[in-house]
């Protein structure tokens, strides 16, 4: 895989960006290819998985089904058709829901993002805060306590925690609502972003907003624990590393107050590596939701992927693979570009 043709611009930064974007596009295509090949390698037959017993025994019905989904075509042609349709923003029709995959995903992706964004924001606020505290109070009691908390955080099996949390808070204590995104009596707010909280605010439906937040609480907190552990650990060591550097020492030596040094010099310098980890953690969160969505009956991407995969719903599986791939690639691109902008040496290599 080599970089695509580069623009003739003399600006090395632009060239670098163009190269990275090109590689990213190739990467996404690679993801679709791998998904396609893998899904077709599975021994199961999608017709068997999606048609009824009696219908699957009738050759004319099977033939009609195959031709409807283009399964009667040679595999390379199927993949080619997929790519061409992809250029037009068409991801095909799900064999499982009989709807367009785009429509399915535009409902499922925001549901997952709503948990994942909530979890990452909370994690940043808590994790970075705790990490700075731990670094500054290095060797003190607070440091040890935080270390314990973060180590436990990254050690808890998410699926188990989700189950226990649901059992305790929703079932036994009844302080959290049941499963799903909204209470049954509540209607979804008008669809703008697909994020129920945002949509409810946009249309001024305060009750719906409250309900959506209440439903988000448990799954978000469960996912947050792991990421908080991760970010606390990482922030601590990133800050420690910066604290050790000459410019911080000299700032201190100049007699600048501790807080100023911390905020203006240390945190700023530690920010880029922390952001990198945030980006990666966000990707991890997205795949972590599969386990959590199972427990909370959350109609998100994880549930959709699981359903699609277990029905050998090729367009559905491809769609999820594509979305996850794009999200990962975009995050990486942004992180790489940030590095590129900040540290010119990266571009040369």
């Amino acid at each position: 895989m080599s970089a695509p043709s580069e623009p003739s611009s003399g600006n090395p930064l632009l060239r670098y960006i163009a190269r990275r974007v090109g590689v990213s596009v190739l990467l996404v295509v690679g993801v679709t290819l791998v998904t396609f090949v893998l899904t077709n390698l599975v021994p199961g037959d999608t017709v068997a998985a999606n048609l009824g017993q009696q219908a699957a025994a009738d050759p004319t019905i099977v033939a009609a089904y195959r031709s409807h989904y283009g399964l009667d075509r040679p595999l390379p042609e199927q993949y080619g058709t997929y790519l061409v349709n992809l250029l037009h923003g068409d991801l095909g029709e799900s064999q499982q829901t009989h709807r367009s995959v785009v429509a399915d995903l535009s409902a499922a992706v925001p549901a997952t993002l709503e948990i994942a964004i909530g979890a990452i924001v909370l994690s940043i606020l808590i994790g970075v805060g705790l990490g700075v505290v731990a670094a500054v109070r290095r060797g003190h009691l607070a440091d040890s306590a935080l270390r314990l908390v973060s180590l436990v955080g990254i050690s808890v099996p998410t699926f188990w925690l989700a189950m226990v949390a649901f059992y305790v808070f929703s079932y036994k204590l009844d302080v959290a609502p049941g499963s799903g995104r909204l209470s049954p009596a509540t209607t979804a707010p008008p669809d703008v972003t697909g994020l129920y909280t945002v949509d409810a605010l946009l249309s001024g439906q305060w009750e719906t907003f409250g309900d959506a937040v209440a439903h988000l609480m448990l799954p978000t907190l469960v996912l947050t624990l792991y990421t908080v552990g991760l970010l606390t650990r990482f922030t601590r060591s990133a800050v420690l590393e910066v604290l050790d550097q000459d410019f911080v020492r000299s700032a201190r030596a100049k007699g600048l107050p501790g807080r100023t040094v911390l905020l203006r010099y240390v945190l700023r310098a530690a920010l880029v590596p922390i952001l990198t980890v945030v980006g990666l953690a966000f990707g991890a969160l997205l795949s972590g939701t599969v386990l959590v969505e199972q427990i909370f009956s959350w109609p998100g991407m994880g549930s959709y992927a699981y359903q699609a995969a277990s029905h050998l719903d090729l367009p559905g599986v491809m769609g999820v693979g594509l979305v996850v791939g794009v999200i990962y690639v975009v995050i990486n691109l942004v992180v790489d570009l940030l590095y590129g902008v900040i540290d010119p040496r990266v571009r040369v290599s």
Partner: protein, 533 residues
Amino acid sequence: MTGPTSIRGRGRTVALAAAATLVAVGVAACGSGSSGGGGAGGGTLVVDSSFDLKTIDPGREYELTGQMLTKGMYETLLTFANNDLTKPVGDLATGYTLSPDAKTLTLPLAQGRVFSDGSPITADDVVFSLQRLIGMKGNPSFLLDGVTVAKKDASTVVLTSAKPNPALPFILPNPALSVVNSKVVTANGGTTDDKDGAEKYLNGASAGSGPYVLKSLDVASQAVLTTNPKYNGPDKPGYGTVVIRNVKAATQVLNVQKGDSQVALDLSGDQVKGLDTGKVTVTSGPSAYTIFLLLNQGTAVSPATSNPQYVSAVKKAIDYSGLLGVAGTGAVQPAGIIPSLIAGTLPAADAPKQDVAGAKTALAASGMSAQKPKLAYPSDLTLNGLSFQTLAEKLQSQLAAAGIAIDLAPAPVATELDNYRNGKEQMGLWYWGPDFPDPSNYLAFAPGGLIGKRANWPATASPDIDKVATTAGSTADTAQRDALYQQFQQGLNASGPFIPLVQPPSNIVTATTVTGATYNPIWTVDVGTIGAK
């Protein structure tokens, strides 16, 4: 539950349901914003169910959830009143007449009935609906295989079958055969061949005459129905809004106890045991599903299970009552492949029995005791709360006690179905539910039948059983039929490659304020008859 297998029937009890629905104890505990006690036309009913939904286009749907939703929004020519599966009665037709040769079914239509847009239901609507089902070649099309539909006059429809078809009146109540508003459906791309394009429209709006109409549908999470203001049929819908949500069984337990939902449909026998009967009403009974063990007769596929002595050893080694213990309250052992609740079922005394000593003798006689066949089963399938995983583990341990060693070979339904359908499983653990409540549906288990072939069991392998099956299929006289189907099953029990294991329970759990939620093997529960106290 997943699409492919749920195609099979929807076994739920009939007998116990009616008796137990009205057990009212204590004070209802409904809260959390959903109304428990709305009178007619008011309030919201929340039904929790594990979805296997693909579509609610009546001509295309053939999944558990689709049948339930369609039943609430559409009507069929005939139906089963009070869930009496032995007698189809009029719905949109006033009744039926079957010709003596069982080939012509005449259906006079009820007068004055209207669709949800107020337009009258005509014979043309009926003909269009059934022809569309046949012509689209979808999952339920097989129900009317070899049947032609014609309008005799403005108020009569005639169904003609190529072969004698005594089961047809029992097929017509299937919600897949619902009557749709032909003008609306045609205007939205509907045709009576495979060019039909109305599915998308019908997944966003209903075009029927049932007690409810569709407000919104998300196949992955929930369907919302509201009362049909133009409805002039016999049901008395008790709620203004019905929300049917996709919820896993474990969560359903919690929701219904908290009052978050009023009906839970997928609880296991174990789950209902712990429920507080002061808060909820539990109705348990056997479902119409038969879970069975398949023993492949192909010598190349499986040397052990194709040996008759080995089959006999397995039949005798199983502790059937032990399986019921795992299946939980309400489960029963089917005496033959046709479950209780359906005509032609065997008396309980004819059921296979455990005989460990006999099993050991037969195993020794088979000379296959060193074999270790693979038991394939859908590991992600749960039927009314009974997981195939659990059942397979139980079987393995029971067989081991009689010296029969087997390996478990779990696989996701989607991949395992392929092996099952292609007859590649040495031993298979699967289930069958009635497409329609008629014993002829179980001829699939005859040698050379749909499932018989999957066990590599051709008609030539057992001419006796084949002959009985063929005769039973073409006999119209009820008493004679029942006797023949019993004889068929006795043959299967004696020498067939299938071992009926358990009818899993059907458990319906409702808030104590809810009435009329009784199980039906075809459509699970009719939301049109659910009311509030």
